[in-house]
Symmetry: D2
Subunit: 301 residues, 4 copies
């Protein structure tokens, strides 16, 4: 979960907080529609100017969000219908999706922390083909056209001593994929989007604005090929949740600085803490299948 | 984690909230001391009357708490010195600890949810001996006196369709242990005791006051043999954390009912959510070793 | 894997070794047919007399074997068509399969040894319903008729200190299922049936003829309700494989006792060793899904 | 386990098969001694000429083998005394072991196949320091001199679509270690060395003689820095075991070609099969600790 080092908000949430203060915004277009049959709400935010990027506090690029409340619930077929819609959206953002290419899927996060195991889970279920196509040719699959799909779970820095970005850069340098897809669990600002929202973006993963953090970026700029990031918020930062609750109270009542200091103390105890649901193991298992199946479909030619 | 169905507070916390309102309490004795060399603070609460039990909202019995801030940090020897102190405290509460007996260790919780995997982790590292002693005798260990130790991880109801208590009752009925020790992750009321406090009690695990919940108890009454429960708070209930923060604000300022309703709404979204630390995988791995090693030591004759 | 303590051969193999010496056998009927569309060969052996049981060295009862070479290969839908046929065969052997009942599925074996993790894998993927039906009624599933399905993974004696049979007897005693289904990995006599053969029998699991071993039986006699065993051979005993190879050589050449002693020495080194395939992780994952899906289908009313 | 693609024999075994036919061998020196106190037998084979390399069918370099029967048995302290001896031997082969350096440990093998999970297990227990030293300096450890240790588990080609060697080359290219240590499970020729023999060599891992296999090498030549390989035989190739048993029989009796063909048929069925012990989960867990602890000790300055 890059959220563990980096605050990775949803573009959707950034847009909402902006709408409160401004009417419209140049360089940011928003398009929404419902896929009613499968109860999926899709939002496309395109940030096309530096001003838009600044206002949204997000890099220029496309952000597609699928909101699918059904994903929170169990389903016999791990929500195949959502996988299919997700596959369509992923294809819409893949450059030259109809041409044969080599694709590296990166599963970020910590396999040993349930809420953070989404990326590893997706790679575990991925249909990898690169080694077979290279060894035996496409004939091994009875296909005339095949993508070469590979996958890696770089692990977390506490376990490897290396940045995930270092590992991905190294592997990409050796295996020369045409496209990299990074899957990660995200932190949302509120519980209402948890485990039901999938964000796809062609901006890759950008670490926070902290100086010297560029070594951690997983972007086209740092990796040399297009990078698509797929994320699902599975946790809320604990300090954010308490902070927001306190904010609501103190906003309307002025002159409560003493109380606020008290609350800030509570909040600082919450650093490095996160909030997640009690059935998170089931949720991660299901989400991993939904996304890996979508990738498998999206990669078919 | 029984905390997922049952609110399992620390006796320590119950006592603290009482001290605020009353001076002293009949039928409740408290004894505290520091084991300075290893920086462990030990508190023994004994509830010996019904009044005491009512005031504390806890069943009559002994509650030993070890607070060991060092447990939060990594250590080469998984805190052997804390294991040794913990072993002493466990032995002090085991009936007839010097006599040979058969002991069943139950690891409650969900192996697939990191913060809830403490119980299963302890049983994984336990030195089980029952099958060897029964098959080959104590000679197999070159010992004249041996306890017969067995262990079970009953799993969670969502995975088994059965109450953990049903499984434990069944297994105990067949294998007739003289003593049952139940290990579980707990929910604390605040973050300050997280992952550094171990509670040992001879009251077993009592489900909440809910009607009809007696089938879930893991107590001497329900199992027919003494039951010792060992618990470590690894999570805080998310609603509790936000509730407490809000409480602090509204306590001193009256007439803010509108704001409170708003906050209550936030809090109700947090039902079934919990707060835990970002390095919870390391923490659980370490705590499991510390406790299983303490049990291994405590069971030596 | 009960094969680790108990030699659990396939009835199919027992029958084959008999056919070599006798023509026909009273009290043993054999029925075979091909389900050509899905390339599954089905054999039903019914042993209906004590003589038949003695000749086959198997208890009286029904033995259904599905041979499905396709199971050895990967498939997008984890061989749904085989799951459906398997579900039909399981239903054919379940007493009163059309009536509502309570069914306990037991996953034998060791989760930490890949070739032995079939039983645990099946229970992991099982659709358990008992706790929901008991808590909320069948309405929770929008059904008028529902079985109550529960599942348990008792673990291996080295980890629990208890016989799997003790745990199952205890759990069954508490939860009173009408039917128990035991899933286990088996040892075959040769590699040719590995990972492609599923055996279903209503005789449960009988330990070897060793004295005093009755405590280990998982049978209707020991558990008080019908017990169906489902097994797949995933390993071959190493000593058997070498023994068979040597047997072939020495059978036709007499007077080679010196050589045989040499071979026997080799073979005795192989005690407690087994032979399995190099892709056993993929195989077990796939087989677990095929069987758990078959159970889920078979339990629908 | 590179044995899954590559036959990785022990130098010890190569030497033994040679001794049968020749007395002594130029360019190959052998030194043996017992560390009696801890019952470890150490053999150092140095191959210093091309002729020696040809005769041994091994690349030029040093091969240290520790035979420690005790490793097969359980121990309270995961055989700390063997870890200490192993650490000494590892340090003896590390170039400039007393100087600060950056060391990448590679855990080859398949985490999901028990007998092949040795490499991943070692990296899981490794004390990684690189990220801390780079971020906070050696002061974080209160040390004046520290190695920078990192670790990676590249996974198997069936799961990643990439050669382990591609991943290691990429990661090494980015993180520039001074030394690479590769840990892997090996295949032995006979069961007698299983799980009790550790081989350390400065030749890295060389794939078989197959053409075009150089891309798979993990050697100083392919990676640009010294590569030390540490291996433990945990399996025997099934075909080898049967082949050897048959060989013994047919060696002395001539003219049995018909029988041999029959046996060869048996053996070819055993391709891609391996033989391992029934307690392999315990064995791998223990061996992983012994080796990772040895590395932790060897890396201390």
């Amino acid at each position: 979960m890059s959220c563990f080092q980096v605050r990775t908000d949803l573009a959707l949430e950034a847009r909402e907080s902006i709408e409160k203060t401004e009417e419209g915004l140049r360089g940011v277009t928003v398009e929404e529609y419902d896929h009613e049959e499968i109860q999926v709400h899709i939002t496309k935010v395109v940030i096309s100017s530096k001003n838009g990027a600044k206002a949204m506090n997000k890099p220029m690029g496309s952000y597609i969000t699928l909101e699918a409340p059904a994903m929170q619930e169990a389903d016999e077929d791990y929500h195949r219908e959502i996988s299919e819609e997700l596959a369509r959206q992923i294809r819409s953002i893949i450059p030259r999706a109809d041409e044969e290419q080599s694709i590296l899927v990166v599963g970020l996060g910590n396999r040993d922390v349930t809420a953070d195991a989404l990326g590893p889970g997706v790679v575990d279920n991925l249909f990898v083909t690169r080694h077979i196509v290279r060894e035996y040719g496409k004939a091994a699959y009875n296909k005339e056209r095949m993508n070469q799909v590979s996958g890696i779970v770089p692990g977390v820095m506490a376990a490897t001593g290396m940045e995930a970005a270092e590992i991905v850069r190294g592997v990409a340098g050796q295996t020369k994929p045409d496209l990299i897809i990074v899957v990660d669990a995200l932190a949302a600002r509120s519980t209402k989007r948890l485990n039901r929202t999938i964000q796809i973006t062609d901006t890759g993963i950008q670490p926070g604005s902290g100086v010297g953090n560029h070594r951690n970026a997983l972007t086209e700029e740092s990796l040399g090929v297009p990078v698509i990031a797929i994320g699902v918020p599975t946790v809320v930062d604990a300090a954010t949740i308490v902070g927001d609750a306190v904010e609501k109270l103190t906003w309307e009542k002025e002159g409560q600085s003493g109380l606020r200091i008290d609350s800030i103390r509570t909040i600082s105890e919450l650093n490095n803490m996160y909030v997640t649901g009690k059935d998170i193991d089931e949720v991660i298992k299901r989400l991993s299948f939904t996304i890996s199946e979508a990738l498998n479909l999206a990669f078919e030619l």
